[in-house]
């Protein structure tokens, strides 16, 4: 890790005994708290959130001028274990999470082999514990080998500890299998996270279908592919009573489909990424594969409508879709490069810079979308600063200016389209179970 400007440093003796975070602006949306206060942590749990705590423990962190929030949660990361460790593993991914202020992440099962059985889930759960830097939750595949043909052993995986199910990366084209999954899971309360792009309409497509793709000659992935998929899954959720969670929503029309469904009381929730909130397909340059993602960067109109959906509550939460690839995999022709880029280390900075500092979102809403909302949807014991809960806390300096540089990444992934961006705001300390890691 030589040469990095940012380094994770573990504060002395913060796991056992007491730690205090002094004088920060505490924002805890779940408890309707937004005030300057101290947070006392004892034995890894939150012991008090009060003004001017008199107790002086042996470790104190000065958070004056900073924002103190529940530890950020990212329900959509690809840590690539097992089988694709050249892209990322639980250690490098966890460090990237810490650097970005995240204390809990959920890993997608599109690994090699796919996490589609209880034996693999158990090994992932125990691997997560063994690494132990942050909380890693495991998402299981919905169908065997993510093929959309046969249901995976879903209840075995629940017993082994999965937090949700997803065939992320693929749309489950077979509506019958998908409907069976919703029925089969109905009484379990487990959420199905859906990658929404109708397969036949995005085959060979590498960017949004629009004026830019027409000009570049790159094959398109039209918004209607997403809209059809979202509409189908919303209708199946309505018909079965199952809970569908729309992954990385990117089309304005899809947002409206979810909005109308929520009005009817359908159990549907949705997430969006910082990239789909801030970047458009005008930025696609086929000589630079960093903008290649699925679903693709959309039009300005879509970006505006997605943001409107985030603000009016149609979109419940923000995720990174952290999708690292080895540099040599991304360093090639646009059409051949894999989709995705690492997002954990840039998410908060981008959101603060492009949304909060541009007065497009208030801090309480932003923090809720990254903490208590995902925790509530997925039933996690996280996302709040309630006394007695695990001390997962993020300290944010909202005005710290920094530049995104690949050499400072902890992720093994490269080719972030945010490299070179000058940002305002980032996490300066990440606390997991009382263990305080300073980001210098």
């Amino acid at each position: 890790m030589n040469g990095k400007n940012w380094q994770i440093q573990r504060a002395e003796a913060t796991i056992h005994g007491a730690t205090i975070i002094r004088g920060g602006r505490v924002i805890d949306p779940a408890n309707n708290i937004d005030k300057v206060a101290d947070i006392l942590i004892i034995d890894g749990k939150i012991a008090a959130v009060e003004q001017d705590i008199k107790f002086e423990p042996h470790y104190s962190f000065n958070a004056v001028g900073k924002i103190v929030t529940p530890g950020l949660i990212d329900m959509h990361v690809h840590f690539r274990e097992p089988g694709q460790e050249a892209k990322e593993d639980f250690v490098s991914g966890s460090k990237a999470a810490v650097a970005g202020g995240f204390t809990t992440v959920a890993t997608m099962p599109n690994t090699s082999p796919a996490v589609d059985n209880s034996a693999l889930v158990r090994s992932m759960v125990s691997r997560a514990k063994e690494v132990g830097i942050i909380n890693i939750k495991i998402i299981g595949a919905l169908t065997k080998n993510r093929k959309g043909e046969e249901l995976a052993e879903l209840r075995d995986m629940i017993s082994a500890g999965v937090v949700a199910f997803s065939d992320d990366g693929n749309f489950d084209s077979n509506a019958r299998i998908f409907m069976n999954a919703l029925d089969y899971l109905h009484d379990t309360g487990k959420v199905v996270i859906c990658h929404e792009e109708e397969t036949s309409l995005v085959k060979d497509g590498v960017m949004n279908e629009g004026k830019r793709s027409a000009m570049l000659g790159l094959k398109g992935r039209p918004t209607v592919a997403e809209d059809i998929a979202v509409a189908r899954d919303v209708l199946l959720a309505e018909y079965t009573g199952g809970h569908v969670h729309i992954a990385h929503i990117s089309s304005g029309r899809s947002v409206d489909i979810v909005r109308q469904a929520k009005k009817r009381g359908v159990k549907v929730t949705a997430e969006v990424t910082p990239q789909h909130l801030t970047m458009t397909d005008d930025l696609v340059n086929p000589a630079d594969t960093s903008t290649k993602i699925n679903p693709p960067l959309r039009s300005k109109k879509d970006v505006e409508e997605v943001l409107a959906g985030l603000l009016d509550g149609t979109i419940d939460m923000i995720v990174t879709d952290h999708s690292p690839h080895a540099p040599e995999e991304k360093d090639r022709e646009y059409i051949y490069a894999p989709s995705g880029f690492p997002g954990l280390e840039t998410s908060l900075g981008i959101l603060l810079t492009d949304l909060y500092h541009e007065n497009k979102i208030d801090l309480n809403t932003l923090i809720a979308k990254m903490t208590c909302n995902p925790a509530k949807i997925f039933g996690l014991n996280a996302g709040t600063l309630t006394v007695g809960t695990p001390a997962d806390i993020t300290v944010i300096d909202p005005s710290l200016e920094w530049t995104v540089e690949e050499k400072n990444f902890y992720t093994r992934g490269s080719h972030s389209p945010f490299v070179g961006r000058k940002l305002k705001g980032r996490a300066v300390a990440t606390i997991v179970g009382g263990n305080l890691m300073k980001l210098l």
């Binding site: 629009g210 793709s213 398109g220 086929p286 000589a287 022709e333 646009y334 059409i335």
Partner: protein, 309 residues
């Protein structure tokens, strides 16, 4: 005329100014005289090395560039991708770095991937000449089309051009559109809607779903090649029906001006996008295009590598 192309890669027409285009056409006219002469050997690029790196099959473009380089006195080598380290899985960057290390001055590149030439120009120092990157661009083809039209009509601005056929997958169409609109031509595109790009909204371009509307009163009709695999992909039902509704034949061409110029980038599918009799009729410039292609490519190599001195 000032030469802004010296030392630059030729990636797409987007980066050309109208003055740049005029300079290429003027230089190509000089080169055409050489090609028609008895001794086709200049010394402009003596001692310079050019490599043809073609990842897709090509007869006319590759040969055209090869002869263009040789007529200018350069050493030209063509890599056959089927028998090279490329089939062993070498990355594009590594292949480019390898040929760079051998000391070449220019790489003429054709590749299936849109943006491949631009990428190449960013990873190695030699000049990259894009000889076609996927459906993105084929700048030398657009320039030779302009050259051919200009010689036949004596002007470019104000002419109505119909480009018909598979616009969606055509790098020729994209480069033609941007080259022609830059020169003030009135561009009309037509084909079945399945082969027209959606959202193709650019100044000076009109998109038609009906061939007749596009070729009506046209000064130039550029007929694009229809690849038979488009039918297998479900983009049109049969070659027979395509020819009947969208093919260019003598009857349909009567809608155009009497002195309409017929272009085709080749290779042609006779009886599909164009009827056989039109290829050799007096309005056809299809074979002029081939000779003009060598002249235009000589101009491009000379202007970028030699400064056109």
């Amino acid at each position: 005329m000032e030469n802004n192309l010296f030392g630059k890669s030729i990636i797409g027409i987007e980066n050309f100014s109208p003055e740049d285009i005029r300079l290429v056409l003027k230089t190509a006219a000089e080169m055409k005289k050489i090609i028609r002469g008895k001794v086709k050997k200049l010394t402009n690029l003596k001692g310079r090395a050019i490599i043809n790196l073609f990842y897709e099959p090509s007869t006319r473009t590759r040969t055209s560039f090869e002869l263009a380089g040789k007529y200018l006195g350069a050493d030209v080598v063509s890599i056959n991708t089927g028998t090279s380290s490329i089939v062993k899985g070498e990355s594009l960057r590594d292949t480019l770095r390898t040929v760079e290390a051998m000391g070449v001055d220019a790489v003429v590149m054709r590749h299936k991937a849109e943006g491949a030439a631009d990428y190449a120009s960013k990873v190695v120092k030699p000049i990259i000449i894009n000889a076609g990157d996927g459906a993105h661009a084929h700048p030398s083809q657009a320039l030779l089309d302009l050259f051919t039209i200009n010689r036949a009509k004596g002007r470019l601005a104000g002419l109505k051009v119909a480009i018909v056929g598979d616009i969606l997958h055509s790098r020729v169409a994209r480069s033609d559109v941007f080259a022609m609109t830059k020169m003030g031509m009135d561009v009309h595109l037509a084909g079945p809607k399945t082969l027209l790009p959606r959202f193709f909204e650019f100044d000076g371009v009109t998109v038609h779903e009906n061939i007749e509307d596009a070729i009506k009163n046209a000064d130039v009709v550029n007929v694009l090649r229809i690849q038979l695999e488009r039918q297998q992909a479900g983009l049109f039902p049969s070659p027979r029906e395509y020819a009947r509704i969208f093919g260019i034949n003598e009857k349909r061409l009567r809608l155009a001006k009497d002195d309409v110029l017929i272009l085709h980038p080749g290779p042609q599918n006779k009886g599909l996008e164009i009827s056989n009799d039109l290829t050799y009729c007096e309005n056809s410039a299809i074979h002029d295009q081939v000779q003009n292609g060598v002249a235009v490519r000589m101009a491009l190599l000379d202007l970028t590598l030699n400064g056109g001195e």
